[in-house]
């Protein structure tokens, strides 16, 4: 066993050796170790490099507040950068790498930056790199050249580029009380709340519950606090109404007490079970939240305070008590409050030599003095550490006499040999979640800390989160908070009794020891005390300016250790109080959250797909599918050797010559029913529907309230009070909401009910001169001749025993029918139609052919109804009824909507026998750059028209109709195409419509 290991105690299992690698080097630890504790036990002190100066850094903390010891965890192809070593539970086969160093951690070329510290002061980059005003490096070029180097030097770990094999899941939960934090306060709160029988959840970011009880060395009810905690947890685990969530960080409080938490389900395991997520993203709706999140220790700022071996006192104490690891052999302590004496005692108990306890205070409490004596350390009150020495690890500290009131140093410098310096600068309650919930922190002068405000609404606080730092207070507050959270009064029985030294964590108001040398405030971002003073000099005084100018507190630890010292130094420089400088509002997340967990199962292949009942048939027939929103629709049914253009031209030609069939199941379909249904349709469509006879359909156009075109489609009157409205595929949801809004909000008096029946009906359009023959061959129980089924007529019948509704309407301009049946019969109906169509040469056609047929006819779709066009722009002015108001009628005649300069729908015919690409623009003369601002419109849809034998297109062109018969050019500089076109009417084929009426 490592000489740094204690013989007994703590959470580790000394019988279980765990093997892992760090920078390729095999290492061992014990079950229960974190990477940090295992590295310390292995004598590794250099773990990382800092952001800017690439200074050597070691383990500084023991928890989520770690600013320095960041590593990358390698899991097969996946990489997780920037993970604090303090948060990694080691397991057999764990692979970690250090980061931000080149070529190696021990020898890092980037460390040269440290030599230019004066030049690389806060905000230096704003003042230089602007480069020359003229020449090849003018404009932004010089900066971008410099930036290339800066970007490579910056950053921390490297992200992976392989797809992550791990699974991430979201979990929704509801509870009456969510307790955050499981120290004595949290445990008591959970117990008190659970006693009511209400649903309680207890979340703890560490693997083990108990918080401070695990390392305080105190007793509770005469048992070691740790054992008391284990018993409390066992009791909670036995209750049906309690859910315990270890390794779960509550990182966000959102509105309505919606709580976001990250559970690291398998990060501590060598493998994941089938279906087991790596991370679980909890979204918890909690009646009340008990915040028992404890407090974070602050360091003191002094020259050399970043040397590996310098660490927070609590961390040093925790390593000894909780992990059985001595962070050093000869340890010095430097503090401004009593709490570090507890750490010193723990370290001493674990077998370390305590070289000195340096306290900035002239006087300390009796309890602290007693602990100091017990450790056998030299107790230097009224002293301060003014420097440290050692290459890549601490070797020695320098101490001088210090006056806490004035900050003055005096007397000779003394050097003390030490390989670890445990530092405490006081405590900051972890008020982040309360701050996120909207509460402004208040400064407590006695505790020298920001405390949460009085609780309002969703949460109550307990324990050191509230600034109550003794275990007895934590127990009492936990009990009270737990009871309050369920609206009960705390049980009258005697609360558990804590036993331990009576320490006072109230710090002396000392944050910085000003002496020669770089003193770091933000250890990760290398923000020094001088940087803070420079920010002050340059006027960046408000806390947000300080942060943004120096990057203080913006590192991965989010300033957990650096915020308050930074503010204090600024306050001192500005001659203000700390609250006058202000505190920043904390934002989610409390600690970093994997993007995978937030994305959960929602990304990638698990995004929903919408499939028509005939989907599999299309696939089997070799259809190339196109995504249309969430839908998939056949683009073409290509034959071997065919190009897309050949395929759709063949399909479209087959429709014009014979008969084709297309899946129209994706069209939005809304059942509009009720005594006022017809009146309702008169209001929402620009044209009249109340006059529509039963068993007839009509083409309708809707506008938005602002008078612009919204959607079109046919609506079928199936009964006196029953209509089936169809919408475009893309707008189905929007039209439904639009109609529901008007019924609920504007016309609640109308007795109309809307139901989405898009999914109820499968639809096939059969089009072409032989369409009637196909139907006649398979439809039973009704005739389909012109008399029974005239244009826009509706009949009901059967195909192969399947009930169908047939409407004769045409999007292609051919004789055509839409045949609908229950979706569960869709495939059978489709196959029956195909079978019936065989003798007539029926051809299935896809979206491209559908588009070709409609372009030839000049029918509009979403490409033309693009939210900017009016009915008149699209030559649909004839549909605007003058007999009645309708949605949009009041605003559709505004001057801007009636201007002759507007873009108007036209047809284009290519004059050079080349395709007119969609998205091309139209110009009168030259192409750019010769004709700036020359665009007079754009192509909305294009095709090769087999019917016309030409490349044609639809376009929106300024003053379109007036240009009919004129020549223009299409201009497509992106794709290098420029060519002549003739502007024609959008009705390019069979303008009289004789074919569909045939």
């Amino acid at each position: 066993m490592s000489p740094r290991r204690t013989a007994a105690g703590g959470r580790i299992d000394r019988a279980r050796t765990i093997r892992f690698t760090f920078d390729g080097k095999p290492m061992t630890g014990h079950l229960g170790d974190t990477l940090a504790s295992a590295l310390l036990a292995g004598g590794v002190t250099l773990v990382g490099r800092s952001f800017k100066y690439h200074r050597p850094r070691g383990v500084f903390a023991a928890g989520v507040d770690e600013p320095c010891a960041l590593v990358t965890v390698i899991d097969g192809q996946a990489r997780e950068p920037n993970v604090p070593a303090t948060q990694i539970e080691i397991f057999d086969g764990l692979v970690v790498e250090s980061q931000n160093r080149f070529p190696s951690l021990g020898f890092d070329l980037g460390a040269v930056n440290g030599l230019f510290g004066g030049l690389f002061s806060a905000g230096f980059y704003y003042k230089t790199f602007m480069g020359p005003v003229v020449g090849p490096l003018k404009g932004t070029r010089f900066w971008m050249l410099c930036e290339w180097f800066i970007r490579r030097a910056a950053g921390l770990g490297r992200a992976g580029d392989a797809k992550d094999a791990a699974r991430y899941e979201k979990m929704n939960a509801f509870c009456d009380v969510l307790v955050v934090g499981s120290g004595p306060a949290g445990l008591m709160a959970a117990k008190a709340a659970a006693a009511s029988g209400k649903r309680v959840m207890l979340a703890e970011q560490e693997p083990l519950f108990g918080g401070a009880a695990r390392w305080s060395g105190e007793t509770i009810d005469d048992a070691p606090a740790e054992r008391w905690a284990d018993e409390a947890v066992a009791e909670l685990a036995g209750l049906d109404n309690v859910r315990l969530l270890p390794r779960t960080t509550v990182w966000g409080i959102y509105d309505g007490n919606t709580i976001a938490a990250l559970e690291r389900v398998t990060d501590h395991k060598a493998s994941r079970a089938r279906g087991e997520p790596r991370h679980r993203h909890w979204s918890i709706r909690a009646g009340k939240v008990v915040l028992a999140t404890g407090a974070l220790e602050r360091p003191l700022v002094f020259p050399g305070n970043d040397r590996p071996g310098v660490m927070l006192a609590r961390a040093a104490g925790r390593y000894a008590a909780e992990y059985g690891v001595l962070p050093g052999g000869r340890i010095a302590v430097f503090t401004n409050n009593d709490s570090a004496y507890r750490a010193a005692a723990a370290l001493h108990r674990a077998g370390a030599t305590i070289a000195a306890i340096v306290d900035v205070r002239a006087q300390v409490s009796a309890a602290a003095s007693k602990l100091a004596r017990e450790t056998g350390a030299e107790h230097l009150t009224g002293h301060a550490v003014v420097d440290t020495a050692g290459r890549q690890r601490l070797r020695q500290i320098t101490i001088r006499r210090f006056d806490a009131a004035s900050g003055a140093l005096s007397g000779a410098a003394r050097r003390v040999e030490a390989d670890c310096l445990a530092v405490s600068g006081g405590w900051s309650p972890a008020i982040h979640l309360a701050s996120q919930a909207g509460a402004a922190a208040r400064w407590d002068e006695r505790l020298q800390a920001f405390l949460p405000p009085e609780p309002t609404g969703g949460w109550v606080g307990a324990g050191s989160f509230t600034g109550a730092f003794t275990t007895q207070e934590a127990i009492a507050q936990g009990l009270a908070a737990g009871a309050a959270a369920v609206g009960a009064t705390p049980a009258a029985s005697k609360p558990p009794q804590a036993g331990g030294p009576d320490l006072d964590v109230t710090p002396a108001p000392v944050f910085e020891i000003r002496a020669k040398g770089k003193a770091f405030v933000d250890l990760q971002h290398d923000v020094t005390a001088e940087d803070v003073r420079l920010a002050h000099r340059e006027g960046f005084v408000s806390v947000e300016h300080l942060k943004r100018y120096t990057t203080l507190g913006m590192a991965t630890d989010q300033g957990k250790t650096s915020n308050v010292p930074g503010l204090a130094i600024m306050a001192d420089a500005a001659g203000r109080t700390i609250p006058q400088v202000g505190t920043t509002r904390f934002r989610p997340p409390y600690s970093a959250v994997s993007l995978g967990s937030l994305a959960a199962e929602r990304h990638g292949e698990l995004r929903p797909e919408r499939l028509t009942p005939m989907h599999d048939w299309h696939i089997e027939r070799g259809a190339r599918m196109l995504a249309a929103g969430l839908w998939f629709r056949p683009q073409i049914y290509g034959q071997p050797g065919e190009t897309v253009e050949q395929a759709y031209a063949r399909e479209a030609a087959a429709v014009r010559a014979g008969v084709g069939i297309v899946d129209v199941s994706t069209l939005g379909k809304i059942a509009v029913q009720g005594p006022d249904a017809a009146a309702f349709l008169d209001r929402v469509y620009t044209n009249v529907f109340s006059s529509l006879p039963v068993n007839k359909a009509r083409y309708g156009l809707m506008l938005r309230e602002d008078g612009l075109a919204f959607d079109d489609g046919t609506t079928w009157r199936l009964g006196e009070h029953e209509f089936l409205m169809t919408t475009t595929t893309a707008n189905a949801g929007k039209v439904m909401q639009h109609l529901e809004y008007f019924l609920d909000v504007v016309w609640p008096d109308l007795r109309v009910n809307l139901t989405s029946v898009t999914d109820q009906w499968a639809g096939a359009a059969v089009a072409g001169p032989k369409a009637r023959d196909v139907l006649a061959a398979c439809v039973a129980r009704t005739g389909v001749d012109n008399e029974m089924l005239p244009f826009m007529g509706i009949v009901r019948g059967e195909i192969d025993g399947i009930p169908v509704t047939i409407c004769r309407l045409s999007f292609s301009g051919e004789l055509a029918y839409e045949v609908y049946c229950g979706a569960g019969h869709g495939l059978a109906m489709w196959e029956a139609l195909m079978e019936a169509g065989k003798p007539f040469g029926i051809v299935p056609y896809g979206l491209e052919a559908l588009g070709t047929l409609r372009i030839e006819k000049g029918h509009v779709t979403g490409s033309e109804i693009d939210g900017r066009t009016t009915a008149r722009d699209l030559h649909l002015g004839w549909m605007l009824s003058k007999k009645k108001p309708f949605i949009g009628s009041a605003m559709m005649d505004r001057e801007g909507l009636a201007s002759p300069e507007r873009l108007q729908l036209v047809g284009l015919v290519s004059l050079d026998n080349r395709a007119i690409a969609n998205g091309a623009h139209i110009v009168e003369g030259k192409q750019p750059p010769d004709d700036p601002h020359g665009s007079i419109g754009h192509v909305t849809a294009n095709c090769f028209s087999p019917a016309l034998g030409r490349y044609v297109a639809l376009a929106l062109v300024k003053g379109g109709t007036s240009r009919h018969g004129t020549r223009a050019h299409i201009s497509d500089p992106l794709r290098g195409r420029f060519g002549p076109v003739e502007i024609v009417s959008h009705h390019m084929f069979d303008p009289e419509g004789s074919r569909m009426h045939g």
Binding site: K170, N172, P608, L611, D616, N753, Q760, A762
Partner: protein, 195 residues
């Protein structure tokens, strides 16, 4: 009558799947009721609708929001203001109910093809559903018989608790295959059986 075809296609794989370390967590199946019907009453005509439903189906629907009942082959639950979703193992409910109700009282819409019913049952049913829906599935909050209209991302779902650990989910048919896949994916963790 021609039988309805399932929308699931090759996504439907009978058998046992996922992690069975702790037994089968849930069973997932496709009950395929003959009728799924949405019935809506005009304001003030809720009693007339409830009466018609009771006459036709024997279901006595509670009036509180989300309330519902399950009896043998039939079920019904509230899915919105004055709106119920009714199912029957037999086909033809929509026509019968429409005749019984009358347009002066409300409307009946046949969704037998438009919605797909998916049944999820087993000890871990609540756990699996909680992965998808921000609903409180505990039996106090969501008692047997009652129903909820909710959504999983883009997929609207109407859910009825038909037993202490059994739920019927009604989703839009064209989303059913996709939803089935994610449901199975989410159930892998607890082990699931498809039948």
């Amino acid at each position: 009558m021609v039988e309805q075809m399932s929308p699931l296609g090759d996504a439907y794989v009978p058998g046992s799947h996922g992690n069975f370390a702790d037994g089968t967590g849930v069973k997932i199946s496709l009950p395929q009721p003959g009728s799924i019907v949405e019935a809506t009453a005009w304001p003030g005509r809720e009693a007339a609708l409830a009466g018609a439903i009771e006459r036709v189906t024997g279901l006595s629907l509670p009036h509180h929001p989300g309330g519902g009942v399950v009896t043998g082959d039939r079920s019904g639950f509230g899915i919105g203001p004055r709106k119920w979703l009714l199912t029957d193992a037999a086909e033809g409910l929509a026509e019968t109910l429409r005749d019984a109700l009358g347009i002066e009282n409300g409307t009946v819409t046949d969704l037998s093809h438009g919605r797909t019913a998916i049944r999820l049952e087993g000890e871990r049913a609540e756990w699996v559903l909680a992965k998808f829906f921000a609903l409180d599935f505990s039996s106090d909050a969501f008692p047997v018989g009652s129903g909820r209209a909710t959504m999983h991302h883009d997929i609207l779902a109407q859910i009825q608790r038909t037993g202490p650990s059994r739920f019927n989910l009604y989703v839009f048919r064209t989303f059913a295959r996709s939803f089935w896949r994610v449901l199975c994916h989410g159930a892998e963790e607890v082990g699931y059986e498809v039948r």
